[in-house]
């Protein structure tokens, strides 16, 4: 499913709850949580916070978020070998990531981009979109997602 299918209205609808979840999990002030905040660089999230955030979002929105879902979806049609080599994302992989994470400013994509640094790209909007995609996947055909 392409991100272009996700509207700003949909993102705005889930953002308040996602922001509250982020603030609770990272223990930061909710005013700091903006749509374009980088979880690591702006909010100071650590790896345990990502685990916390995912479980909190699953419980709150009643969706399943498999581990590594963002990277798996970002990889798209590329095989693992096409996406990265020895821990460094290939040019094709970076292009795929840029398209998938189109909410992330271009300057945040470092070169070379290490796979381990991909979470550094994630913003609050990235997680809003993840929730929306999982809501759509869980919703019966034609039905609205649950809030």
């Amino acid at each position: 499913m392409k991100d272009s299918n996700i509207t700003q209205d949909e993102i705005a609808a889930v953002f308040p709850k996602v922001a509250e979840t982020m603030a609770d999990a990272i223990s930061c002030e909710i005013e700091k949580v903006k749509l374009d905040s980088s979880l690591i660089d702006d909010l100071g999230a650590e790896s345990i916070d990502f685990v916390d955030i995912v479980f909190r979002l699953q419980r709150l929105f009643k969706v399943k978020i498999p581990r590594g879902k963002i990277v798996e979806e970002a990889r798209g049609v590329l095989s693992e070998a096409e996406f990265e080599k020895a821990g460094v994302v290939s040019d094709a992989g970076v292009a795929q990531l840029r398209a998938f994470l189109n909410e992330v400013p271009a300057e945040r994509f470092k070169s070379p981009l290490h796979v381990a640094d991909i979470p550094r790209l994630f913003t609050v909007e990235t997680f809003c979109k993840l929730v929306i995609r999982q809501q759509r996947a869980a919703a019966p055909a034609g039905g609205p997602p649950s809030a």
Partner: protein, 279 residues
């Protein structure tokens, strides 16, 4: 005597494993102990959930540390009592486990754990995988002989200032050597997160004095929430704990506790106290 599966193991027997993701077990608190703190009851429930999680992934990975959404402290336990342990897995794979659980003693609820999450890490980094694999059927059949746990070494806090009734600071010197490190874990000793919770309760208690209660009575910890262990704590580390009052009324006292090694935040929790019942 070998401390493995003794010095910090709190499941004697698994009485039911599945169907689905539920597990039941028992632990007899050694009658020779002076006390058995709530943090160790929480550890027992967590260890039972860990066995269920490991069984699901064929003991390739195990939960280590993590997060507890809410821990309800319902009643105290006494040496000699048998804990009936229960846990339900919300989800488990080789990355994370989500679970909740409880413990009862003599039919009375003792503790309840809600919304817990543990990162799953390779067993081989912490323990001998074959020993762990062999232990699971042993606990399901023969069971461990009670009495393996000899108690904790002194983990007293060293108070070091603060602001009256509002902030308390203390240091905790994690022992460089202690029997429980041989069990938690044989290949990589790690200070248990539940013992950090134990220390956090002690730090919070520095603020929960009768002087701050409406009738001059004692406060009792009722819930510990948003417990998060951010990194492994090694033997010999010195932790700086800061307890800060974040809410106060006649009926409750809320305290946030943060633990740091140098400047780095390694653990946090919020503790809610209520007036002790005068029975």
């Amino acid at each position: 005597m070998d401390s493995h599966f003794r010095a910090f193991s709190f499941v004697d027997r698994i009485t039911r494993l599945g169907p689905g993701d539920s597990i039941r077990g028992q632990y007899t608190i050694p009658p020779t102990l002076d006390a058995f703190p709530a943090s160790l009851v929480a550890e027992a429930v967590g260890q039972l959930a860990a066995w269920a999680a490991m069984a699901t992934v064929r003991c390739s990975h195990r939960p280590v540390a993590g997060i507890a959404g809410t821990i309800e402290l319902l009643s105290a336990v006494h040496p000699g009592q048998v804990l009936d342990l229960a846990a339900e897995l919300e989800s488990v794979d080789t990355e994370t486990v989500g679970y909740g659980g409880s413990a009862h003693a003599d039919g009375i609820p003792v503790i309840r754990l809600l919304d817990c999450v543990g990162p799953m890490l390779p067993v081989e980094d912490f323990d001998d995988p074959q020993s762990v694999r062999d232990r699971l059927p042993f606990l399901r059949t023969v069971g461990a002989a009670p009495g393996g746990f000899d108690g904790l070494p002194a983990l007293a806090l060293d108070p070091c200032g603060g602001e009256r009734d509002r902030v308390a600071r203390a240091r905790l010197h994690v022992p460089a050597a202690a029997p429980f490190f041989a069990d938690h874990f044989p290949r990589r000793p790690v200070f248990p997160g539940t013992l950090l919770m134990h220390a956090s309760l002690q730090a919070a208690a520095l603020l929960a004095t009768p002087a701050t209660s409406a009738n001059g009575g004692a406060w009792m910890p009722r819930t510990v929430s948003d417990v998060k262990l951010r990194t492994f704590i090694s033997p010999g580390e010195t932790l700086s704990l800061e307890a800060r009052r974040i809410g106060h009324s006649d009926s409750s006292l809320a305290i946030a506790v943060e633990s740091r090694i140098k400047q780095r935040l390694v653990g946090s929790a919020e503790i809610l106290f209520c007036p002790a019942l005068n029975l």
